[in-house]
């Protein structure tokens, strides 16, 4: 039966190859199930909203789920490369998943647009990582904004609570680095599991260290529980959150108890308050509106990272088309070169400027300081 299946798939593969010859094929790998599904689902949902035409060619997206498992990410990427012969890949959703696939996209010479936070996917730049472009602000970019604010408001000691996963882990590192530079002392460093029913113990430990402020790093709704635990135990200090908390559900679950929280994230949360001159405003507004129309809720910023990848490709494809036909190594290589030359391109998250050394390309226009007042996101001036 195995053989029959293999033969069948080969047949189907051959047929579909014949039909869709002229299209530009973009593979998408997201973690729409498994532990980081909260990151992957808005990304997967964004795929149908992305540009379908560039340089007069049709773009076809082929989405695959990796179930949050890096092994499955590699399988998916190999499938996209050797079965679907894609011209570029967007994904995967998780940092380890992205780290695991880099060598395989580099070997095949397929550009990878990774919507992940950790800078390790593009730094230090080398022969393999030159195929990778990052469409999420480096965690350190966001962290610097938060730490600057802390330093400005006189915070000397900081407690850190992060998820016991790559997200919390990377944040733990960048905050430790950044805080030292600003003279802020980290007095407590705690971890929790996303599904933990109680983080009381961690909250008590943090409170025992009496920090001026607490930073919570968790992707999506898990960011709520530690903050509530601290508030319930009577913690009176300042709360900082990462862009992981930048989603409507944070306000819904947190209610009054997250009032006054400060976070740094892209402008998507506070579109109406951003001046019209902001280059990203129109694009982001458009994206949020179409997403809301399609799914009935605003997207988490993770979705915006996916959308930006689509925009980057849309801009790069016409240049690459001049050098080769879709489906050829020349086209892919030209696409990579074109992506690397992206200059002052506004997208939902901010403005991209890629260089051979910097494949992330965000500057401070890619983040805003935001606070919660009266149960809504407010731009912090």
């Amino acid at each position: 039966m195995k053989l029959k299946h293999v033969a069948g798939s080969l047949l189907i593969g051959a047929l579909s190859l014949g039909v869709a010859h002229a299209d530009i094929k973009i593979g998408v790998v997201s973690s729409s199930t498994g532990p980081i599904a909260m990151v992957g689902i808005p990304q997967k949902n964004t795929v149908p909203l992305m540009p379908t035409k560039a340089g007069g060619q049709t773009i076809r997206y082929i989405p695959l789920d990796d179930g949050s498992d890096p092994t499955a990410s590699v399988v998916a990427v190999k499938k996209l490369i050797s079965e679907e012969k894609v011209d570029a890949i967007i994904g995967p959703s998780g940092s380890p998943n992205a780290m695991g696939v880099i060598q395989f996209v580099a070997e095949a010479g397929v550009p990878l647009l990774a919507p992940v936070g950790t800078a390790a996917v593009v730094l230090p730049m080398n022969d393999q990582k030159k195929w990778v472009f990052k469409t999420t602000q480096n965690d350190s970019l966001i962290a610097t904004a938060l730490l600057d604010h802390m330093a400005k408001t006189g915070i000397k000691t900081l407690g850190f609570i992060g998820t016991a996963d790559p997200y919390g882990e990377n944040w733990g590192k960048v905050v430790a680095d950044g805080a030292a530079k600003k003279g802020i002392k980290i007095v407590a460093d705690e971890r929790f599991q996303r599904q933990d029913t109680s983080v009381t113990a961690q909250a008590l430990k943090v409170m025992a260290a009496r920090p001026d402020a607490v930073l919570i790093a968790a992707p999506g709704t898990p960011a709520v529980l530690p903050q509530l635990a601290l508030v319930d135990r009577g913690y009176k200090g300042k709360f900082y959150q990462t862009h992981g908390a930048a989603l409507p559900d944070f306000l819904k679950l947190g209610g009054k108890k997250v009032e006054g929280t400060i976070l740094a994230a892209s402008l998507m949360l506070v579109l109406d308050q951003v001046p019209d001159t902001h280059p990203s405003k129109k694009i982001a507004k458009n994206y949020v509106a179409t997403y809301e129309k399609a799914y009935g809720a605003a997207p988490a910023t993770f979705g915006g990272n996916m959308f930006d990848a689509g925009l980057l490709l849309e801009r790069a494809i016409p240049t690459a088309l001049a050098k080769g036909k879709p489906g050829t190594p020349e086209f892919r290589s030209a696409l990579r070169d074109a992506l690397e030359q992206t200059h002052e391109m506004p997208a939902t998250q901010g403005v991209y400027n890629m260089t051979p050394a910097d494949h992330s390309g965000f500057d401070e226009r890619g983040r805003e300081l935001i606070t919660v007042t009266n149960g809504t996101w407010t731009l912090l001036k």
């Binding site: 933990d196 109680s198 025992a208 999506g220 709704t221 009577g234 559900d249 679950l253």
Partner: protein, 345 residues
């Protein structure tokens, strides 16, 4: 660490322990009666809590469609059997329960202003949706293989868990939910501030355990279940139907699971896949009780809760490592003290 922190940790551990205890009881019960190690126990926790959250968000919970689907499948199988046997009266019962009930419930949920109803009514409706999935699951999944070896039952139980988590993601999405507390009251006990919901959790757990005890000691069905647990073949000879015992057991397990979910939803964030880890800890507690003793399982549950709470405080990054490593000596001790010759399963 001072006394106050220790007390707070103890309170936290006890609250979690109370939930683990409930799940441990359900696991012990299911295993004793049906030999199924019930991995999907935790999914009922998530389903209960998230169904309630969906109602409060003003949508008809998707779980009711799952119930209808399971009911329709059961109706098809049992209805077919009844038809072939020519039992028209049984057919009516089969169709009524398996088709009529879920559809009626769906209609009710669509018609009633569920979102604005009192919490108690919402909780009852959630239970009405989730709990019948228990007996239906037994009918569809486990009854056809009731005599299979434990390993097969376990693997099937894992498969059900996989499917239920997948469905949970489909129904509820990846983001977590919380529900409003049963009571906003706070109680000051010396240096301790105890929230109303915590008291709810612990009290409900105690009440439920006592109620279960009464059920097993006093009622006919309870005694029938106990008889089945002690000696399946014997119980069958005495006219206790194993499939009835199985359904009843799964009903209780689903009830305990869903109720636990509803109870903890206000004090934590529940995700579609929260159930597994909670269920696992209930399982640990149940094993400490040797999958046989209810009181020991409850003690084990509190032990796990406390262990978790204190190790989170001392070394939160290593919490799971500590909890699960410390379980091994406990298991060893239990294994050595409960001597039973294991042979032919």
């Amino acid at each position: 660490m001072d006394v106050q922190i220790a007390l707070m940790l103890a309170q936290d551990g006890l609250t979690n322990g109370a939930i683990y205890a409930l799940l441990a009881l359900a696991l012990v019960l299911v295993f004793a009666v049906t030999r199924v190690i019930f991995i999907p126990q935790g999914e009922f926790v998530a389903y209960g809590a998230l169904t309630l959250a969906m109602m409060q968000a003003g949508t008809v919970p998707a779980t009711v469609w799952l119930l209808a689907g399971m009911g329709a499948t059961a109706a098809l199988i049992d209805g077919g059997l009844a038809l072939r046997a020519g039992q028209t009266r049984r057919l009516v019962g089969v169709l009524g329960w398996n088709l009529g009930y879920p559809l009626g419930l769906a209609a009710l949920l669509a018609a009633l202003p569920v979102k604005d109803m009192p919490l108690a009514a919402q909780v009852l409706l959630s239970l009405a949706v989730v709990v019948p999935m228990g007996p239906l699951m037994y009918r569809l999944v486990f009854q056809p293989i009731a005599a299979a070896p434990i390993l097969i039952l376990l693997i099937v139980s894992v498969a059900v868990h996989v499917a239920m988590v997948g469905l949970g993601l489909l129904f509820f999405g990846a983001e977590g939910q919380r529900t409003p507390a049963f009571s906003d009251a706070n109680l000051e006990l010396g240096p301790l501030m105890v929230s109303g919901q915590t008291i709810w959790v612990v009290m409900s757990s105690v009440v439920l355990i006592v109620a279960l005890y009464q059920f097993f000691e006093r009622t006919l069905y309870g005694k029938a279940l106990r008889a089945t647990a002690i000696n399946r073949a014997g119980a069958r000879l005495m006219g206790i139907s194993p499939s009835l015992a199985g359904k009843l057991t799964f009903f209780l397990a689903a009830l305990i699971g869903a109720l636990s979910g509803v109870l903890i939803a206000p004090i934590t964030t529940i995700y579609y896949d929260t159930g597994f880890l909670i269920g696992l800890k209930g399982f640990v507690a149940a094993i400490i009780g040797g999958l046989a003793s209810y009181p020991l399982a409850a003690v084990g549950a509190v032990l796990v809760g406390l262990l978790e709470s204190f190790s989170s405080f001392w070394a939160s990054a290593f919490k799971e490592v500590i909890v699960f490593t410390l379980i091994i000596p406990v298991l060893l001790w239990r294994s050595l003290t409960s001597r039973h010759v294991e042979e032919e399963e």
